[in-house]
Amino acid sequence: MRNILLLLLTLSFTFASSQIYTSRTIEIEQGQMDKFIEAASKKTQMFNNDENNFAYYTFQILSGEDTGKIFRVQVGTPEMMDAGLDQKEANYWSKNVGPYIKSNSAGRTVMWWRNADASFVPESSSDNDLRMVMFYNYKDEGEVDFWRFRERQAKARAALGEDQLDSAMNVMVCSSGCNGNWVAIFFSYESFEAQRNINQEGLPKLVEKYNEMFGGGSYEQDVARVEASLMPNGRRVVHMQLIRGASSN
């Protein structure tokens, strides 16, 4: 990882200006999902729509080994992290949502930061609730190849103009809680059908734009380098559905 320190420096600057995204997986008691969503929604709307408090985003996991569980993401500033959860809020969660939860922290808790240079969010995608999340685990020595493609893709998406895809791309980098170099890319879609349509009609335009910007054949070359940069089984895809009620506005 020749350039890891360059990345760490980048992280350092990012730390200073960004929010901390902390994700955990929640296991719900059998048959209690509806009640959980109702209670979590009420709690979130009561406590988490204030810019001075943590925001939360709640997803139902649709595929993979955690299918049926909840992926809940806390978003806050470092100062909020240091202050910790408000006790009244925590007590409310325990009393009102807790009874429907089998495990409040099943699996791994991860802190993420958002790589803005590798992300792109078109205005049109704001109402999309479906997420395809690609988790990548890359080798130290593949760092440059991995990030070249990610940043170029963000630039190509931003340059699509009228051909813009109705899909946001948020690139999250694990800063604590992972083993190795992990990145999660959240692609938003209106639906599975919309995802298929974008893959069939939109992606060829993106590839064309990419090659126009970075050289003929560059998309294919860069993708091949990314493939080589990954650890064995270093890519997994999971779908999630945003639960709007149980998420901050």
Binding site: N3, L5, L11, P78, T109, N179, G180
Partner: protein, 251 residues
């Protein structure tokens, strides 16, 4: 681990002649304590009481407790005994342990145990250090053949921190028992997450500039690259822990 003997020699001999800020050897043993969510309040209360009774005087065993903030053990605890006399590990605190088993035992499950030794040679303590409760911990697992590259970087970082007047601690602990492979943890002390942000701004850049000034242009990038190449696959894991003073012996 064919060079481990050399490393152990480095860790045990070099510090005694090279270390000025912390001449003592420090030994630790640490285990994870898993606690059910519903038992957290009772657990913390019981640990605080036990620590106050059995671990608050100079002649009593010193234990510190961390809340684990990330990873698969998030929301559980890490309890670590520290000593400068390794024979303390031979002399169990029978009374304290019995009290622990009786009061805290039913509230947790203990996982594993690892023995660590502080590498004074690679650890850094600033002048007038103050207690900071957040730890950003990087666990490394390096290849046998990468030992020299790994430790060169660590030693040089310590020297660059010293000469640049870096303001926060960096403790480097080497796993002596309970680990698979060559496992080292580097513990960066921060004054909360806001303090972490500050530390990774100008102080880090100043340290890197000092590093390059001391060891040559681009030395930091080159050495850190070699240290990364020295690692096993996925040989770097980052975790955050928070010291809980009420559940710990005094600073």
């Amino acid at each position: 681990m064919r060079k481990n003997i050399l490393l152990l020699a480095l860790l045990t001999i070099v510090p005694t002649i090279a270390q000025e800020d912390t001449p003592q050897q420090w030994f630790m043993r640490a285990r994870v304590l898993q606690v059910d969510q519903g038992d957290i309040a009772d657990f913390e209360k019981a640990v605080a009481k036990k620590t106050k009774m059995f671990n608050s005087e100079d002649d009593q065993p010193r234990w510190i407790t961390f809340r684990i903030l990330s990873g698969t053990q998030a929301n559980n605890y890490l309890r670590m005994q520290l000593t400068t006399d390794i024979s303390d590990f031979d002399n169990e605190d029978i009374e304290g342990n019995q009290y622990w088993e009786k009061t805290v035992g039913p509230l947790h499950t203990s996982l594993g145990n690892r023995y660590w030794q502080r590498s004074n040679w690679a650890s850094y303590v600033p002048e007038n250090p103050k207690q900071m409760n957040l730890r950003r911990i990087i666990y490394y697992n390096y290849k046998d053949e990468g030992e020299e590259d790994f430790w060169r970087f660590r030693g040089r970082v310590k020297r660059a921190m010293t000469e640049s007047g870096y303001a926060s601690r960096m403790s480097v602990l080497v796993c002596n028992s309970g680990c698979n492979g060559n496992v080292v943890q580097v513990r960066f002390h921060h004054d909360g997450f806001a303090g972490q942000n500050s530390d990774y701004g100008e102080p880090l850049q100043t340290m890197i500039s000092k590093y390059n000034e001391l060891f040559g242009e681009d030395a930091y990038e080159q050495d850190s690259g070699k240290a990364s190449d020295a690692l096993e696959e996925n040989g770097r894991s980052i975790r955050h822990h928070e010291l809980i003073p009420e559940l710990s012996s005094g600073w």
